[in-house]
Amino acid sequence: MRLAHLADPHLGVRQYHRQTPSGINQREADVARAFRLAVDGVIAARPDAVVVAGDLFHSVRPTNAAILFAFKQFQRLRESLPSAPIVLVAGNHDTPRSAETGSILRLFEELGVDVAVDEARRLEYPALDLSVLAVPHHALVAAERPELRPDGAARHRVMVLHGEIEGVLPTQRHTVEYGGALVGLRELGIEVWTYVALGHYHVQHKVAPNAWYSGSLEYVGTNLWGELADEAEQGIRGKGWLLADLQRATVTRKPVPASRPIIDLDPVHGEGLGPEVLNKMIQERLRALPGGVADHIVRLRVYDVPRHVARELDHASIRAYKAEALHLNLDVRRPEVRRTVGVGAPGRRQTLPELVRTYLANRPLPAELDRESFVRVGGELMDAVERDLAGA
């Protein structure tokens, strides 16, 4: 019994301003391509069941192109795997806030896809001795949550859930997906399931030997540099989906080749350097890329560059590189400002996160609040905002 586990395709997401020759946002096309490749891979692997753990679309009202594309891919999947159950749950991105909006995901029911949008569904497939509890985002944020436990006598008990499992993701991670429902590890009861297919966190992650986040199929988060950093820290290269063998209790990564290189170049330290030297260093870094920057997504951080030096950089050449790349983020950062505080007392001016931390550490609090954790949470949120801004 083999199960294909996909999550977070985020079809319809648009990033940057480059368009394909047919006028489609390039990243939107990249994301579609990744999904198409994943479907190709699933068809080739011929699993017994397919689950998509949420966020098929990036928004509640995706573009017509994205809907049409998704429909065709599911139709392809259905045609190629006529007897394999396909289970799709709604994530936080494709769940409407009000019931009257309705969900586009129901469209795929016409293709025999079993869709869970508002309520959790327990789907029994007697021929496969398989029971799937499909838990969409909405069911987890409702006043009464579903019981996350298997039922019945099926041999293979699978749960598909879109949300964040409390306390299992790295605390120092660089990227955070907001808006996911929090689920406690004990509430999840991993040990009673044959396999738990999770969606929401975009970096592939093993929660337990039988519980995985498959990760997104492309870099679709708000902070793709953070995603890259998380992947590097966890020793993961690139995106993909998972093929779980429920009998042998093995999980195999199935990579999806990236549409284009996404490169975070080593930073340049510009302290004490003039504009000419800096121009040279920037160009050397960009030229050193195999094949140049064309169609790449590149970031280059340049630290400690005063405003007047930054003004003197060769902006014409930088513009040329930017035009060539799909996206070039030349992140020129000014040196840390040191100012005199008070009367002649030298002191460093606090950064915004430091200012926030100091404020939170001193503001009056209700007695029952633990100040230490209050300040820590505030600091983490601030850091996340900083990282997002840096990655944007």
């Binding site: 065709k72 006529p82 949550r145 004990r186 820290e233």
Partner: protein, 645 residues
Amino acid sequence: MTAPPVGRVVATELKPSTPHQFHFWTARESAIGIGAIVRVQEAGRTVYGVVTDGFAYSDLVTPMHAVLGADGDPVAAGQEPTARAEIRLFTAAVLRQMPEEPLQPVPLGPVWLADDADVLLALRMDSYTGGERSSGVPVGLYAAGGLESPVYLDCDFLLGPEAAHLNITGVSGLATKTSAVEFLLTSIFQTFPPHKGSVAALCFNVKGPDLCFLDRPASLSPEDCRIYARLGLRPEPFPDVHYYAPLRPDGVNLNTLRTNEALAANTEPLIWGLREVLDYAEVVLNRDDIDAKADAFIDFLAERVVGREYQDDMLRGRAFQVQSFADLEEFFRAIFDFMEVLGKGGEVWKTHHLATIRKVRNRLSNISTRSKGLVTDDGAANDLPWGSFADRSVHVVDVAGLDPLAQDLVFARIVSKLREHLERRDLGVDHVVVFVDELNKYAPGDGPETYVRKMLLDLSERGRYLGLVLFSAQQFRSQVQRRVVGNAGTGVYGRMDADELATPGYATLSPATKIKLATLPKGELMVRHPHFTQPIFVKFPRPPVLGGREGIERYPPSGDVSFTEAVARRLRSLDRRISPDSVYAAIDGRREEDVRRALSATRRERPVDPFTYFVACLGKRVAAEVVVPRRGIPAVRRGDDGYGA
């Protein structure tokens, strides 16, 4: 003063009167006995004394004269024409002299049996009874020669701050210890003056059903009711009693004899999590374990790991969030795995030796295994209402069914918490009486130093300043740590074992007093109190609450019921309107662990609608749908998919 004198003081060269003792003779029919209080009044001096010994003799020079006089025939001895003169002589210890200065030998004067007013003066009770700011607490009736007088203890010397603590000694099974404490608590609760603040009691039920029915009335005899009336008390059970008992290992049935459904409303489970246990981890370590290294590692766990996020990239990529014993085990596992990878030389982790880590882990996991019902693994605790103890409330913690190690833990934690809150003055009451039975066991005179003994010693030495008062009881006072009983301002003695009376601790008692103590009937006690210069015998009524044995007959324990029924009962104790059938339906087919967690959450939250909350915690059932494979999906039309393929 209308009653005639009962005797007259005598003093000879061999038996002189002193300022602390005198002798007096009485008629043969006199009602004087050991323990009777008498008054001597002569020439402007009044002396009160308590009878401590008695003698009777005749004018015979030797016993041989009696034998020869009756020709050796005991029958003839009774037929002598004249009765032989017999003298009754009593020895009394001085209780009080008025005026107190100059202190002189007791004058030769007539002796009267003390009446109510005399008893009040003799025992110096006039200084704390009567008036607007009376602080007397009735302890029983002094009775002699057909007279009865209430005896009061001074609450300043019973509950602090002048002195404090009370210790009761007596053999088991003669309604001494438990009954006396129950009666005394009733007396304190009914008479403790409002200007002294508020008072609550916390009792540890260490064996059987002794303290299990403090909220149920006993059927008292008319004589008992008369004594209550004479003492100015109402024979009523305690109105505000809360019971706490750990759960059985099944996690739903209570480990107590108070399981009758009629008693469920105020019986709550006592459940502690890792944090509660870890704060008192020293208790679970035995003497050999207590060393600086184990202490340091426990401190490390308490301060850096438990209840917070602990990140150590060497152990694993993500942070540890240790909230429960299961989480702690995972943390230990990660350390051991890491050390194994290090191989040889990997014996120290963050300056803690592997052997120390293993020892602490074993002791902690031991407590979670051996006290499964007390210690929960899901981190949710159900504790005493710290900070909201009500005035005149009684909290009974039933540890009778617990493993000794867990009993120690319960003692240590509860008493320490009481002390902490009283130090901060935020417990909710000003004074707390803690009753601990079987002091022989918890604070023995010999044997290894234990955490509980240290804690009881600290309580007895420092408690009175805080309002934390120890009422303790044991069979053998001589076998208890001397400083624990020595610090008890008030001592109460029931019937005693002769061997125990032969120990040095009772050397100050006269042989007659010892004999009286060894044969003391039910319902009588000897009391020592700082205001009384000599021990006094008093009668006390049966306590107004149901005794253990009677209680068990009237409210038989329901025994361990099935899991589902136990859950229904626990929910019904929160809301009587919940029908058992609805509970059965709600938990049918659910995992016991999930039900336990939902029950625990409901109990903790105490929502307005417990059943709805409980069901929400369980999670909505998701009905199964058998999916029929669909046929006839139209084939894909090849062509552009919109994104260029």
